[in-house]
């Protein structure tokens, strides 16, 4: 709200970072901006309480907090608050302070005064998570959070402990069946899940193509586009009380007859009727397609309804390696011929113009999938890191029983690699984080969408991620594209996998309960452990050994023990690790986002509601060289690093391609080919750095 027309001093100071003196940015202005922000804004707008007791009681009595007295005495709560205060937390950058107060701090009902500082939020989250486990666990969570070793995803961090709050889970996925009941169920779910703040993704590959038959009459079906339009409007309508726009994604199998139309919806100059503005799109690419492109053989797009009529199965559930030749020789299957390479180039062109589509490599995702005995991974989510089994539900008319199958529900959080490594607390951090995530699945019960509810109840999936990889490497003088970085990632993520698995086993042992279907998984038959019990994963470079100095690294013997324990007690979570892109939360942690390289030494960050300048964490004149922009990196090397991390991640990794506007569609397509061959499961956005006219003039001059 503009109350007066003078620019706020902290925003001016933050902008002044960009003013250069002697060719150096004015980095010190950022600290001045933090100071001004607190003195002139935060402090003036924070409700003051004389004592902690007064504050807690006020927050509970006025319906801001849940009644923590049901689980803790005041003295216990005081211990948590005092422990946190003793850590003397200070925001290291304007961005982190601004983002926290702008988006996370509890405000009074007028929306004008703050009721919480960072320390209070940490305390509330810790108490909330530990309320059935007791004060010792609350202190463990508090330590983990105030050390900034672990950051719960936004919905958890924002809502935990609040009386009037949204859900703690952020991410949902579901299939859409090819009939009006199925579509209606999806639209209904989209609205409900979006209104509680979830990002929702749908697999629309089962929908019959444009021009296919309805009730036997040819030429009547509208294809996938009209459904996308409905979903787009549904998401923009059902926002979270206007707080943030609803967001959704749809995935389509590349063999679907509507694929070209699907890709065209993001082009710049396209008819309004078929343009999709805010809905995200992703393409499901089976190995067969890449094989056709590689051999330059003709590729046939298939009309899915004809497949259903002929085989009684959905096109996207068929194994294309097995069925493709059968489909193209069967004259009852309607198809159209395209050139596979041209289709790859079309994807590249669409990415250059819009950043979309995401790419999901279906067989890569299923090759490493430990739950193949239960079902397959069909598609991914809004951030392309969730990869879980799903199966379409059969929705009936009123009064008849629906058959509800697995949707996907996932709650997320990320380790901060830098603090975890520096404190040498990988094991404790991973295990405490796994517990925190488990608590969230325990309390989550999305009854209004039964397929989502079923998945959470039976599979207890979580997604532990990691952030600050580039920040940590740069701080330790390791180049992101180097062999040392590969070495570090290979060991670190192996450890994350080990301890998360151990934590999951411990929780299963404690609760005497596993996820449903454990006995059919690769964990139960032990095959999951093959790659870990045959070799050790120790650092192979000198730098790598230095980084892990003083840290106990699990050996293949440790893995053998873990394998036995898992086979004996089972594990609690069907899925454990997923590397999310974490945008806002990495700012609060003053970390580089996810495992991706930075884009700029000082990032210009645009949100729907502000523009902020954000100097990268730990940046100084000495280590400047190590903050190489993703746009200047060899993308193949970035993908190579991701492939190493992917070895140890049971779900996926949000992988962003950073390209320059002079890169051709062929360059982009070559990244897809490389990513596919390196076993990547998905590619997220493609970002493009524009060339400026100064650059153009100087090139030609």
């Amino acid at each position: 709200m503009v109350t007066n027309e003078v620019a706020k001093s902290w925003i001016l100071l933050n902008n002044e970072i960009m003013v250069k003196h002697d060719d150096e940015f004015s980095l010190h202005k950022d600290k001045e901006a933090v100071r001004a922000y607190f003195l002139e804004y935060v402090n003036k707008n924070t409700v003051f309480f004389y004592t902690l007791k007064e504050k807690i009681d006020y927050l509970i009595e006025n319906n801001y907090y849940i009644n923590f007295y049901e689980w803790f005495t005041f003295e216990e709560m005081e211990r948590v608050y005092q422990y946190i205060a003793g850590k003397k937390f200070r925001f290291p950058s304007f961005m982190s302070a601004f983002k926290f107060f702008q988006s996370y701090a509890l405000r009074d009902d007028s929306g004008e005064k703050f009721l919480e500082r960072y320390e209070d939020r940490v305390a509330a989250v810790s108490l909330f998570l530990a309320r059935h486990e007791g004060i010792d666990h609350a202190l463990q969570y508090a330590e983990l959070l105030i050390n900034q070793e672990y950051q719960p995803a936004t919905p958890t961090f924002l809502n935990a402990g609040k009386k009037r709050s949204g859900e703690l889970v952020s991410c949902f996925l579901d299939e859409i069946g090819d009939n009006l009941n199925g579509i209606g169920y999806a639209v209904d779910s989209a609205m409900k899940l979006s209104s509680i703040g979830g990002g929702v993704s749908f697999n629309i590959s089962k929908i019959r193509g444009r021009g296919e038959a309805i009730k036997g009459v040819e030429g009547r079906a509208g294809g996938v586009l009209p459904i996308m339009k409905i979903l787009e409007d549904t998401f923009s309508y059902a926002n979270q009380l206007g707080q943030r726009p609803g967001a959704g994604a749809v995935y389509l199998n590349i063999f679907h007859s509507d694929i070209e139309e699907f890709l065209d919806c993001k082009k710049i100059n396209v008819d309004e009727k078929v343009r999709i503005k805010s809905l995200s799109i992703g393409v499901i690419i089976p190995d067969k397609f890449m094989e056709l492109a590689s051999k330059d053989e003709p590729c046939y797009l298939i009309y899915p309804h004809t497949v259903m009529q002929e085989y009684g199965k959905y096109l996207d559930e068929l194994d294309m390696d097995e069925m493709y030749d059968e489909l193209i020789t069967n004259s009852k299957i309607k198809k159209k011929k395209v050139n596979a390479r041209h289709l790859l180039v079309k994807i590249a062109q669409t990415q250059k113009e819009s950043g979309y589509p995401y790419i999901f490599f279906k067989e890569n995702a299923n090759r490493q999938h430990a739950l193949n005995g239960i079902g397959h991974v069909k598609f991914s989510n809004l951030c392309t890191e969730i990869m879980q089994v799903s199966e379409v539900s059969d929705i009936n008319i009123y009064g008849q029983q629906d058959t509800i199958r697995y949707g996907i529900s996932c709650n997320l959080g990320s380790l901060n690699i830098a603090t975890v490594m520096e404190n040498k607390r990988i094991e404790q951090a991973v295990k405490t984080a796994m517990r925190a995530l488990t608590m969230v699945t325990d309390v989550t019960d999305i009854a209004m969408v039964p397929s989502i509810q079923k998945a959470n109840r039976e599979l207890h999936s979580v997604g532990l991620g990691a952030m600050n990889l580039h920040g940590y490497l740069a701080k330790n003088f390791v180049m992101y594209e180097s062999e040392e970085a590969l070495d570090f990632a290979n060991v670190f993520f192996m450890m994350m996998n080990f301890y998360s698995l151990q934590a999951s086993m411990e929780i299963a042992r404690e609760r005497k309960s596993t996820f449903q279907g454990f006995e059919k998984s690769a964990y139960a038959d032990g095959s999951y452990f093959d790659k870990y019990i045959t070799r050790d994963y120790f650092p192979t470079t000198i730098k790598g050994s230095e980084l892990f100095d003083g840290v106990a690294i699990p050996t293949k013997e440790d893995w053998k023990v873990l394998k036995q324990q898992v086979q004996e007690h089972g594990i609690y979570h069907a899925y454990r690790i997923a590397i999310a892109p974490n945008q806002s939360t990495s700012y609060i942690m003053n970390a580089t986002a996810s495992v991706m390289p930075i884009v700029d030494t000082i990032e210009v960050r645009e949100y729907g509601d502000s523009t902020t300048y954000y100097p990268m964490p730990y940046l100084t004149n000495e280590n400047y060289f190590y903050y190489k922009s993703a746009y200047d990196m060899d993308q193949m090397k970035v993908l190579r690093l991701v492939s190493v991390i992917q070895r140890h991640v049971d779900q996926g990794i949000s992988t962003i391609l950073h390209t320059n506007s002079k890169d051709t569609t062929r360059d982009l397509a070559r990244y897809y080919i490389y990513g596919h061959k390196m076993g990547l499961k998905s590619l997220y956005y493609t970002r493009t750095r524009k060339s400026t006219i100064e650059e153009c003039v100087s090139c030609s001059a």
């Binding site: 620019a7 100059n269 309004e272 805010s278 113009e353 950043g355 523009t611």
Partner: protein, 327 residues
Amino acid sequence: MKQYKAVNWNEPDNDYALMFWEQNIKQFWIDTEYIPSKDIDSWKALSPEMRECYKKALGGLTLLDTLQSNTGMPKIMDHIDSLQNKSVLAYMCMMEAIHAKSYSTIFTTVATSRDIEDIFNWVQQNKYLQFKASLIDKHYRKLENTDISKEDLFMGLSASVLLESFLFYSGFFIPLWLCGQGHMVASADIIKKIIADESIHGVFVGLLAQDVYKKLPNPEKSKEKLLELLNDLYENELKYTEEIYTEVGLTAEVKEYVRYNANKALMNLGFEPTFEVKRVNPIVLNGLSVETTQHDFFSKKSTNYEKATEIVHLRDDDFVVDTSIAV
């Protein structure tokens, strides 16, 4: 008898036409790609004075873009010999029309019909706005004759550069200033696309003007004439700024910004800057940068993507990749 020539892009006319053509094509956009309706709440939260200022600023911009697409570009085109340069100008002319319409897209989304009517009336009544339009138009109208002096052409081109690189910015100030602080952000996406276009238009027409300037019989005299025009426009611009920015208290900052851009216009024409500029509001200056920014796809549309012109097909060897890895 007159011989008609077809534009031949196989032979470059000069070393920049093709580059500008391609850059223009890449930057192509249309107003309806953007979603100013996201700003409706933000609009309602602005003070009445601020809304008034915003509307007037955009109204003024609409007039300038209209002048540029209806008169400026077509008249200039008549006197440019290179057919490729002409093509670039024709494309720019089309974009100016899109710009002029896009302000209406913002208006239509946030303001009432009554408000919009008032603004267009205000544009017609406002003496400073009318003065600058008529002054620029005077130089354009001279180009209506087929037989004109080199100086007339130079002045016509210079008027165009002054309009593109200088006069627009008093209007751009407010959307950039608000956007930097989180207000009217979706509409600012449109404004930023316009700024990216105007910046290449200014550079391109500036290069054409410099070509003509080299061939002038009495360059010093022409330069004086140019500076005189700049000065008249500058004096008028100060008054215009006072009229629309005083109530929101930004007059001094906008004036500084006006001087900053006057210097930029002179540089596009190949001359030294003449105005002393102390400190331009950093929020607005940063908003002016047309380089790539980070954004969150879920909360806003990006202004970073451009029409793909680099389409290259795949070959067999693209599928042969080295998958070896050190660890």
